[in-house]
């Protein structure tokens, strides 16, 4: 089958001819209908420090997708051939302390699709049956392919007290944009979106930001304090992974407020812990993935409720063969979510 992989420890992605995967015990084989590009894929593409530490080539990458089940292992009981499904990309061991205490998304032996096992930039991908989530008939398959990043936004935003808070969101990639739309309908008193790219700030505005700040030209920390009676933001969602933004996130939060760290820095980050965290008594929480499956239940009902209009989020539709162009587009920042069709 056709697939795109990191074949060597260097920048880039390579089209390969791979063997079609065979579902093992409790696995299903999915024919990929749509797959989309995540920031993690771009980390791997450009082969930064983080990617070098986490990827062992060769590896078919990609982990956001929706498709149709075309084969199931004989012991699979919860899905059948023909089902349309989206996928939870975090594969848990089921036996560790985290898995047995309701936190399998931070499993001690977690494997991530497209990172630790072969992923979805391919014609077919196999996943454990429990990682397949049926797509409700109300939800278009294109939207289903972004349940995964929207799930990041749900998990990240709902880990803080959004209702009654002034919210600042650093980074307007697809997860940041999803968080803008989500917090805007979740009782935030205001939603300030910060990025260095005017295209993405325009999308943030469309998706419900009360205010957007280009931090290349305006100091976001000063602006946020001005807008909140000098108090600072009650909740800051850091979704860029950029060191300057992370430092600003801590400076923008009010005393006693919450900083959610989601964006993945490619190197170590220097923080002024005394003034920006300890004296403020900031609450900080790292967020990764989605709560399995609490987040998915919310996602499904959220989409059915029609409270969110995610259409502006998907800005480009391309063929999977154009993945190199897609990666360059992600690098430019001039896009929201890019949907690829195999």
């Amino acid at each position: 089958m056709k697939a795109f992989a990191k074949v060597r420890p260097e920048q880039g992605i390579t089209k390969i001819d791979a063997e079609q995967p065979k579902p093992s015990s409790h696995e299903v084989l999915v024919k990929v209908r749509v797959t989309s590009v995540c920031g993690t894929d771009y980390h791997i593409y450009r082969w930064d420090e983080w990617a070098q530490a986490h990827i062992r080539p060769p590896r078919i990458i990609g982990h956001e997708f929706a498709g149709e089940i075309v084969e199931v292992s004989p012991d699979v009981t919860t899905h059948k051939v023909g089902d349309l499904v989206a996928a939870e990309s975090h594969i848990a061991c089921g036996r560790c302390y985290q898995c047995r205490t309701g936190n399998s998304h931070i499993c001690e032996r977690l494997r991530i699709l497209g990172v630790d096992v072969d992923g979805s930039f391919a014609d077919y991908v196999k996943i454990p049956e429990q990682n397949a989530w049926p797509i409700p008939s109300e939800v278009p398959i294109e939207t289903a392919s972004v349940l995964e990043p929207l799930g990041n936004a749900v998990h990240a935003a709902f880990a803080a007290d959004i209702p009654g808070s002034h919210v600042s969101i650093f980074g307007c990639g697809p997860v940041g944009l999803s968080a803008v739309a989500l917090t805007n309908v979740s009782g935030a008193l205001s939603v300030t979106a910060i990025d260095i790219n005017d295209y993405r700030l325009g999308l943030a505005k469309t998706m419900g930001a009360t205010k957007v700040i280009n931090s290349k030209t305006t100091d976001p920390v000063a602006e946020i304090h001005k807008d909140t009676n000098a108090r600072g933001a009650g909740v800051v969602l850091e979704m860029s992974g950029n060191e300057v933004a992370i430092r600003n996130a801590f400076r923008a939060v009010r005393n006693g407020g919450t900083v959610i760290l989601f964006g993945l820095p490619s190197t170590d980050v220097r923080l002024n812990l005394g003034d920006d965290l300890i004296f403020k008594e900031a609450h900080v929480r790292g967020i990764v993935g989605r709560e399995i499956f609490k987040t998915w239940y919310i996602l499904e009902d959220l989409l059915k409720s029609r409270k969110l209009d995610l259409r502006p989020l998907i800005t480009h539709r391309m063929a999977l063969n154009q993945i190199d162009d897609a990666m360059k587009l992600v690098g430019s920042g001039e896009c929201g979510k890019i949907i690829l069709s195999p």
Copy 2:
């Protein structure tokens, strides 16, 4: 001055000629511009069990109001004559464990305006300076008079996790209706409003309820389970004080869900604690008043954000002299909030 008081331990309210109050240390005198009728006032009016246990006549009643400061004690530093203010009606002692640990709204020696001290159904009312909240210029004074009940809704609803939850609200009086509007813009997956009065259910629909149920004709518990895949509601706000509704609230909540008890029953209530609370591991929280002053900060910014349209909430405007009619209207349930002008 003109005032309306409970003068005898029996049903009714009496117009009296009272002496204009004189502000003591750290108090301000407010000329009442608008005052509104609360369910507590109606408890006192009809002199039910709860009222008999809590009111010592004679007492000028009423506690929701907005007006203009016309006199201040010499030691007042935070307000001045001419200021327009709304009022926090809970007067805290400032010295008990609760007051010194940030919970003065549940002060051990709490006194409530219109219950323990003379209230606002009068030309003038005096309050401690710290209980006066400046009305922002963006907020019409009529709206300011309902900050107090809206504050109940904010405190009650935000004590639970609204974002990502299916919400059921029992009782569509003014606080219930405010909670409908509030949860609807705070990330609830659905908002189901329950009452026995179609007029109020109509208001609930206008204010954003996803669905309304008249529990005289439809079993709300069965309906809520049907709408949530047999799970039950994640959050139930009980705002009626009615025994049947309270029992239904516990039956409607899902396992591990949250029941907020706000409505004040007039007598003891029988509960099936085993099946409806213990086996479900329900979280229950009593809510009274508003968090001083966290709720007020939220209220102010919430109104400035224009996320809520409270206009449908105020259904009647009357002269204070018509208070007896107003009380009967409250008894009929054919009203939202009634605003009275002295």
Copy 3:
């Protein structure tokens, strides 16, 4: 095999000759070494309202036990013949919302050993492999049989903020006594134990209660307020199921405090929700079972830490054949935990 069952819908328990169970898929068969008597067993024995509503005879009862695995289904991978195990008695479906969101102990289709399926008052009992917990070599098997009720105490007590709180515990049965020992070593400022039985209050004193109150002769609410500067207890654990005690629990808690409801009342309970819960802004939480398996991880490490001395808890050791005497002893209240050997 020998077993004791509720064979008819009436008071009592009957010795029967039952077929030895055969493990189905993912089940193990355990030879019972020790089994102990729980309050639930006594509800069933005396056939009260609760039992009538929840038990369908014939049913082998009993659910607290430890023993040796003597047979496993071929697909079992986590245990083997010869393993000594204790048992989680709550059997979860694995597919409902609660099970898939980390709360399988409140599974929507929960079955309880000795209530919904045959239990441990027998020579053998079969359980799902995931409900078997290996007994660490440091822990005597007799202690292992009380991991289940100790787990109730862990789950109930740790659901509240024990450190820095004055704690009151109503009901000194085995779970209440375990909670006394546990909160005493978990940072409680004081631990007050309340019961109507001096024998059990003596055990409570032995197990670490700061103070014991016999509520037949002394008003526990007045006493608790006197001991806490009129504030009330920060945390109340209700472990009796008795209506008077439950009402006192709500009267004893301080404003803003927490009441954990664990004891199962046999009928509806009347509560003064206004004064005792709403005006106090009490937090209430129903607790059932144990968190699967967070509680078990804690239990194991807690026993290894040797912080708790549970020896005084086990007051009687009898043969399973003496179960009728054991039940009568439970009814008298003149016992702690009774251990039975088949």
Copy 4:
């Protein structure tokens, strides 16, 4: 009067002859009986980056003390001459968002005794009446002088879930040692203390540590993982302010665990946020000071309960005139808490 001050922006401390302070409105004057040395004092003494950014000489330093009220402003109502008091050293404005929402310890205009206003290394010190806490008759005055650092430990430790957790404490200065004693009696499954000084590790052992690790010779992260079945510590209290220790704190915490940051680094700190915080979904909380006055209520009842033996904590008693020696002793690490008498 005699006082010790930072008089110039450089290392050291100088004895000065200062004017005796005069209590202003709502202030009391305290004759210092005992005062003790805090890590913050040592930051100021050695004039590190943090001190340079926060202190404007001349400033009388010191903030931990107990003494007798010798003069009160006429408007003081809560204390009188002759009262023995300890002091909350954080002086809140009473008007900002934090103060009005129950978080005055993180007041937006917080002033700290001995940092922003003159402190207690002197014969007399004045404080706001509300910052004076009466010393219960059961508590020796020497112990009262350490209520402040013990209060740090209470606030820091009780901000996490200690019961049922494996706890690691980095830094065995007086606050770290207090936290060892406190968590040991608060339900920790184990308490591991880490420092680079064997003297302090000896004190940690005496005060209840299950295990001590000298991180100069043993890798604490490997050790903690070994002791917790490779899971990591559930709660890490970082009380050293040292960069290496802070990095280890994040590496030692288990997935989903909590890191409390209390120790104040003198410069920026580099963190591997991806692996050590985000992928772990760590909860991080900055802690400063004490909750006003929740912590003090706990402190008072904790000391009355006699659960803690703080005697080993106070290792040296010196005259205030020997303060330079005391500072050098702090620098050496060969001490617990040093008590000074003016």
